[in-house]
Structure formats: C-alpha cells, structure tokens
C-alpha cells in the first residue's frame, strides 16, 4: 500500500520499539495507555430501570430488562482494541454477555445486524462477526461498572473491528437481510472496518 510513497524527508521513527507487542498493532496505529473518549453527541444517561436490550427482527424481538440481562451468563475477556482515529490499546479487560448467548436465546434470524443506541447512533455488522466468541455486550470494564463516557450501562464489544463498531450505549441488535450502512458508515467510513486491512474509509 505504501510501496510507491515517498520517504518523508527528515522523518524518523520516534516511538519506542514495541518488542513482543509489535505484531499486535495494526498498520497506521499507535499504542496508547490512555482510554480516549470520542463521541458523536452528548453522553446519554439511561436509568437502569428504564434500560432494556433487544435482539431480533424489527417487530419480533427478544427483550431483557437490566436485571434479566445481568442474570444471563457472562464472560470475562481481555482484548486489544483499535480506534480508526489511530490509537490502539492492548489488554483491555471487560465483562459482558457473549452475543452468541443472546442470539441463541433470540434466534439466529438474519445475516446482518444493525446496532441501535441511546442517542440515535447506529452501526452495521455481519452476524458472522458477532458470533463464534468474537463479540459481547459489555457492562463492566477493568472490574468496575462501565462508565457512561465509555458507553455504560452497556456497549457492544467487537474488538477485531475498528472500535466505532463497538457501539456505546447499545440497546438493540436488529437483524436484517441487508448490510445497510450505519451512522459513520454513511459519512464515508468503511462498511466493514477491519483494522488489519486498514479499512478506515469507503473503498479502502
């Protein structure tokens, strides 16, 4: 991809050698120890007694209240995350419900999903990227309830795709037949978003 690109006169790598972690940073990304916060709008604060989560076709969805959702079997996962704005963060620890669990209960009823969130944010994903132990609805980070600015009470966690796919404040996974673009995908971001193939923008 950079084969014909000119060397930038006077530019030298400055970041420390990543050693054994070098293979964990996708192209064009840099390592951060922070947890930057970027949102397309104000942070919603939904009371837990008004929170629910739904999975399925529009009009016939399986729904859980907060207490019901918290009673579902959960998993602890430690994963690397990669934001399209170029930062990557290694070994982030989450607790949440595997999307496999949710789809097994709600029914595998379509090849694509649109995540819908408080605040109106949406993002699209193939169901096969949400299954097979690759995706969770996470409600805890680093052993503590997920803070609203990081997507609490619950966010999608799909670490093998750019992190805009890991929608904050997620409330439903709507299954459908077509892979329609969500919010950022409509503004020119890639329809799929694989960081290892550097699929940042449409056409990458």
């Amino acid at each position: 991809m950079t084969g014909t690109s000119p060397v930038s006169r006077g530019f030298h790598r400055r970041r420390q050698d990543l050693g054994e972690n070098a293979g964990r940073i996708p192209p064009g990304q840099y390592l951060t120890k922070d947890f930057p916060v970027l949102s397309a709008g104000p942070t919603p604060h939904t009371a837990l007694d008004r929170w629910s989560f739904s999975v399925g076709r529009d009009g016939r969805q399986k729904s859980w209240s907060w207490d019901e959702f918290r009673a579902l079997p959960s998993q602890d996962v430690t994963v690397d995350i990669h934001c399209v704005t170029k930062w990557s963060k290694l070994d982030t620890s989450w607790q949440g419900v595997s999307v496999d669990t949710l789809l097994d209960l709600a029914g595998h009823d379509g090849p694509f999903a649109m995540a819908h969130c408080d605040g109106g944010y949406t993002t699209n994903l193939p169901v096969e990227d949400l299954t097979g132990g690759k995706a969770w609805v996470a409600y805890a980070y680093d052993g503590r309830p997920l803070e609203p600015e990081h997507g609490g009470p619950a966010r999608l966690l799909v670490p093998h795709l750019y992190f805009w796919k890991s929608a904050k404040w997620v409330r439903s996974l709507e299954l459908r037949d077509t892979n329609d673009p969500g919010f950022w995908e409509n503004y020119g971001y890639h329809i799929y978003g694989d960081p290892w193939r550097e699929q940042r923008y449409a056409g990458d």
Partner: protein, 198 residues
Amino acid sequence: MAGTALRRRLTWQVAKVSAVSDETASVRTIMLDVPDCPGHQAGQHLDIRLIDEDRYVAERSYSIASAPGEGVAITVERLDDGEVSPYLTDELRVGDDLELRGPIGGYFTWEPADGGPLLLLARGSGVVPLRSILRYRERTGSDVSVRLLYSSRTLDDVIYRAELDRPAAGGRGDPHADPPSATGLGRLRAARRHGPAG
C-alpha cells in the same frame, strides 16, 4: 445533515508545503498545494502519512484549518512526546512533500444553508475546525450569529489570536469572538467531536 454521504474512495496523494506560519510557540499552520483537491467542507479533516527510510509508517488525522475555497491548510500543535506533531511543526519546510488523503468526515460540518445561531466551544487546538467554520461564515457573507467560547492555558497559547480579536469583516452583527481570557473556561470538554466513537 444526515445523508451527506462521502462514498468517494479516498486515495493517498502527495501535496507540497507552500507556506508555514507560527501561530504560537508550539503551534504551526501549514499551507498545502494539493494536486487533486475535491474541495472540503468547513469542519472536515485530513489524514497525514509519514514514512521513514526503514518504511516505518505513521498516520495521524488533522482538522482542516482553512475555509472551503481557500485552499488547504492544517494547524498542528506540537506534543513534545509525540511522533508526528514535532516533525510537522519543527522539521517540515516549504517545498517538502507531504502525503495525505481527504477530506474526511461530514458530520461535524457547517455551511451557510445550515443556518444558526452557532455556539462553538473549544479548548486548545480544538479551535482548528471551528476556525474553518468562522472563516467560511465570513467569506460567504453569512449573517448567521455565532459565538466562540475558547479556552487556553495562557494568553500566549491562544491560536489565531489576531484573527479572533479582529471584528468580523464588514461589521456584520456582533464581533465574532469575545476577547480571549487566560482564566476562561478551564478544562472544557467538547460535547461533539468529528471522529468516530472510541
């Protein structure tokens, strides 16, 4: 503004640095000659790519500082422990090549048809995309009322200070900026950013 989709493929191209100007001791504006320039919206950004002799690649995003129709400029704040910003502010010279692609984003943008009033909030280098909006408003003769609330650590750190101090061109409406204040807003958290959620 929904649906102003930008589905055009974003290809890398080599621009040339046409001018640089220092805004503060640590902030520089870089003007670029971009060969294939599709035009941008006020508030959009670019991706910059640097490659060293070992083919090590670093990429970063920078807001476009200029108004649509003015050509392309970015304003960069040097972060001393950074990898890309010290290169752009200290090393890059007029006549150098700079690889970029864009413009990117279409959500946090403004054009006269969007109307107003506008309340623009920024701290530090967060003012850069707002400056594009302010200049575009002025260039298009828009009478939309606008207020910028802008916080900096010190008066010397105020970016575009001379420009922000001067009354709006033609004296339309209010001056477009209050005098900058060192005490200002403290650590203002912008409610809206132009990058995807992370």
